[in-house]
Amino acid sequence: MKEQRHSDFQTPPGTLTYNPTELLICTAARLMPDNTTAFIGTGIPMLAASLAQKMHAPNLVTVFEFGGTGAILEKLPLAVGGECTFHRAVAASGICDIVETAQRGFIEYGFLGGAQIDPYGNLNSTVIGDYCQPKVRLPGSGGANDVGSHCWQTIAIMRQDKRRFVEKVDFVTTPGYLSGPGAREAAGLPPGTGPYRVVTNLAVLGYHAESKRMVLLATQPGIPIEQVFANTGFELLVAEVVEENSPPTAKELQILREEVDRDHLYI
């Protein structure tokens, strides 16, 4: 499936201003096609899913790990089990049903965050530093490992800098391509699954078909390629043609500010 390049996304020449969070949300929303299933976590993925439903994907089937399937995101849940996660949904079940649905191959996209990512898309949300004597104890896997194991294509949404984009993550909480080609399958993870995109404030990245290493696909508006390199702690592959993303449109920003997050909880 290709990412959305809809005419609605074209911005007329002008000077719209937006902040980095708004840019992340708009970029991620464009990666959510209509009539697909997407595993949504709290935070930016939720805002992006809400925006996508209001723009181009009214039947984006949102899936929340504690039991909501097909919620219409009118309001923003502050908790992953909150009422908004099954607002006007098609089903309200429980976590086993949801993750088993993913394990059976029903869920196309999974959206994730993390404190660190490596060139193979492995994510860390467990500890910074040594596991036995951690510098920072982070919350842990939560549903991230399940999403990264079972969804067909996972999309990480992160701020990009050298502390986050590292050669080796301190702890592999959630599987990317692990050590490289064939490693997921060898570990017993479902064939054909794995990281698909990384959306950052600087770029959209993908993965090389053979080496499974991260590839720069597009820069965010006005960001020079050098700035992406300078904020990546490992050798980044580059697509033959690096596109520049079109900036958030007036319509996207209006919906985001006036409907999706009207209380400005996140943006």
């Binding site: 992953v80 429980g94 976590i95 842990g140 939560g142 991230a144 194991s149």
Partner: protein
């Protein structure tokens, strides 16, 4: 089956399914009135060193009135299945957790848990074993099935598995590696529900998290309920029973039992109170002051609610009602 890999994490609670069968056989099946206060339920059914679990995420349908009572009674050295937000933060802040099967302990939109950081980074939580969310729920499911393990395809290839007590084996049917999760049998399960009868039959509205699995994985089960209703309600709608009475040891009537968390269709979460905790939790002293005020400073849940105030609670009800109206009249 050939074991390919064994997680190096401690198996905090061994999956003794035969002992669990004996336990369940001895459990009373009579229809007896199990209503009691939080104080009585906690003192009768929870002991120092027990392995306990709470259900769903800590701001949604979380058994706060029970957790507060555990803290108040000084129960300690607890071993805990760590999938939580607010309620496990209270236990961590009070220093009552010795061992954690941890999947996620954090404050969701408000970020990492400072209490988790302090307790784990200092080593006061002596044992930490890693799992994914579904892994914890599936471990309960295995216990609910009465089998010692369940095969799944989560955690494979990761450090989450390395620091868990899971095993990877070669599947005897497909030949592929598969992850085995040990059943997790709780000494005590704590679940807050929308309504229960005096015997312990329980209904939950909205999503059910892992309530059905955890209830069936608990040796002792304490249910707190927003309201206690007649047994007739259950007899008329048996399809709505998620927890049958014979699993249950205590029924505690606890209106606003999830406060400052939410209860879908009944009340929304109390954002001001949650923010107060987020701020207080940043330092040991301010966290202690919060516990002093809201837990040690009151003698029970009713006094806690009086401190929060009727007006504020009514408002949380009104906001939930408005959401429900919006849902049914789009």
């Amino acid at each position: 089956m050939e074991v390919i890999q064994s997680g190096i994490g401690e198996l905090i609670q061994p999956p003794d399914v035969n002992a669990f069968r004996e336990w369940n056989r001895a459990k009373p099946k009579a229809l007896i009135d199990k209503r009691m206060t939080e104080a009585e339920a906690v003192s009768r059914f929870i002991r120092d060193g027990d392995y306990i679990g709470t259900e769903l995420y800590g701001t949604v349908r979380c058994p706060m009135s029970l957790i507060n009572e555990i803290v108040r009674q000084g129960i300690t050295d607890l071993r805990v299945a760590g999938q939580g937000v607010f309620e496990l933060d209270m236990l961590l802040a009070a220093g009552r957790i010795k061992a954690l099967d941890v999947t996620y302990i954090g404050l969701e939109v408000y970020g990492v848990s400072n209490c988790l950081r302090r307790e784990v980074e200092s080593g006061r939580v002596k044992t930490c074993v890693e799992w994914s969310n579904a892994a914890i729920a599936w471990r309960f499911k295995a216990a609910a099935m009465g089998v010692p393990f369940i095969p799944v395809r989560s955690m494979l290839g990761t450090d989450t598995l390395k620091y868990s007590a899971a095993k990877v084996v070669k599947c005897p049917y497909t030949g592929d590696p598969i992850c085995l999760l040990p059943a997790l049998i709780l000494d005590v399960g704590l679940i807050h529900v929308h309504r229960a009868d005096i015997y312990g039959n329980a209904q939950i509205d909205g999503i059910s998290g892992f309530a059905a699995e955890m209830a069936r994985a608990s040796k002792r089960l304490i249910i707190s309920a927003e309201e206690v209703v007649s047994n007739e309600e259950f007899r008329c709608h048996p399809d709505r029973t998620i927890i049958p009475y014979y699993l249950v040891d205590a029924v505690v009537e606890a209106p606003f039992g999830s406060h400052p968390g939410e209860m879908c269709y009944v009340y929304v979460r109390d954002e001001a109170q949650i923010r107060e905790w987020v701020e207080a939790s940043k330092e040991i002293e301010t966290a202690q002051a919060y516990l002093d005020k809201y837990i040690y400073g009151v003698s029970n849940h009713q006094e806690y609610l009086e401190m929060i105030g009727r007006e504020r609670l009514d408002n949380l009800n009104r906001m939930a009602k408005r959401e429900t109206d919006e849902r049914t009249t789009p």
